[in-house]
Amino acid sequence: MDMIAPLAKTGVISASLNLWLAVPIGFIFGFALFHAGFTDSRRIAWAFYFKDVGVPVVMFSAIATGMLGLWGLSLIGFLDVSMVYMLPTFLVPMAVGGLIFGVGMVIGGYCPGTAAASIMTGKIDAMVFIVGFLLGSLIFGDFFPVWGDFYNSDYMGAFRLDQWLGIGLGPMVLIVVLIAVGGTLSMRFVQNKVWPSTEIDPQHKQVVKLQGALIAIAVLIGFAFAFFPSESFIDDRVETPYYIVPKATVDPGSGA
């Protein structure tokens, strides 16, 4: 069965065209970051005080969209996921990286994508953040021998949540959608408790209706996915050719 996508991997488009197509894809990304309000460091930081939980809601929505699209296109036989680069897990380095990153985010008010987008809107604090970010990347690279072993430790391959929990991929997608919806609603609840809104938004009703409809569609697709076995989404017997370290060298018993 020949699948069309990923276009650059199946030979539909050339490598150089693929590079140039990254520009419009990045354009959509940057355009959406602005309209999500992510070029404002205060909005990003306020998420950590529950003053404005828009940031996690945007992230949940983006993940749910990408996830339903990725696995849905695989299910209908359009996208060959064995050709899609799956991010490998290095559990402890990623956990430690996440903690430091979160501290950096609430102190600095940005993450790299949002800061880059924000620079283009003229925000000086974003420019300073990026200078720091470049400096931090440089320190990591130049002193790599100091933490290189830790960086490469705890390798688990492209290890998915459904494999970790021992359930099917379809039900896992549904669970993630439900977590996204539950997380959104509970964070909104906390925000309204801690920082009750004083201004009345005249478009509030329309916004609730629109978002409610979009969320309902995502939940319905998630429920449909749950009926399919993992094999209809991905063939786990085929090792993805993009592993940085071959899967075979990882002892599955070592776990976390």
């Binding site: 809601v57 990408g66 899609v84 990286g97 470049l134 290890f159």
Partner: protein, 170 residues
């Protein structure tokens, strides 16, 4: 108009998700922002210290077989990202030179913290092999265990540190 400038979070997130999905379908990989930054510093350092950078255990791979570090997918994405946010801000009339901060925060305090936060985030993004978008969103969609742990830890770290810098924001 307020509504046009700031979209509700769900449709805005869906559009970010669509850009990610396009990258999956076209390139067979995800989107990201920090990779372009790393390649940029490697390129700058290479201009100053070519031999050291090429032999660097971390940056050396960007120069393998005479490659140019900026001739990479993530850099093209970044060019588009910069253009996209510029056009969006321009159309919304939001292009303004300013320092964003909370009502009780001075400009100097904000900029010092922006720099410090940037250094921490820059280091952490390398350690975690990606940032919020490249590791968090893309890995989240791919159901990667590491990406979900990374996302949870971002919020854990942010909440732990939030109290100490509250004067900056609220």
């Amino acid at each position: 108009m307020k509504f046009a400038t700031r979209w509700p979070p769900v449709p805005a997130g869906i559009l970010i998700g669509i850009s990610m999905l396009l990258a999956f379908v076209v390139a067979g990989r995800g989107i990201g922002a920090s990779g372009a930054m790393t390649r940029f510093v490697a390129w700058v350092q290479h201009g100053l210290f070519p031999a050291t950078t090429e032999q660097s255990a971390y940056f050396g791979r960007y120069f393998a077989d005479g490659a140019h570090p900026l001739n990479d997918y993530v850099v093209f994405l970044m060019v588009g990202l910069l253009a996209g946010s510029f056009v969006a801000a321009w159309l919304s009339g939001e292009l303004r030179l300013e320092v964003l901060r909370g009502p009780r925060c001075s400009v100097a305090y904000r900029l010092v913290l922006a720099l410090a936060g940037g250094v921490l985030a820059g280091f952490a993004a390398r350690l975690a092999r990606g940032c919020t978008s490249g590791q968090g969103l893309v890995g989240g969609a791919e159901l990667s265990v590491g990406a979900w742990v990374f996302l949870m830890c971002i919020f854990a770290g942010g909440w732990m540190a939030a109290w100490f810098v509250r004067k900056q924001w609220i």
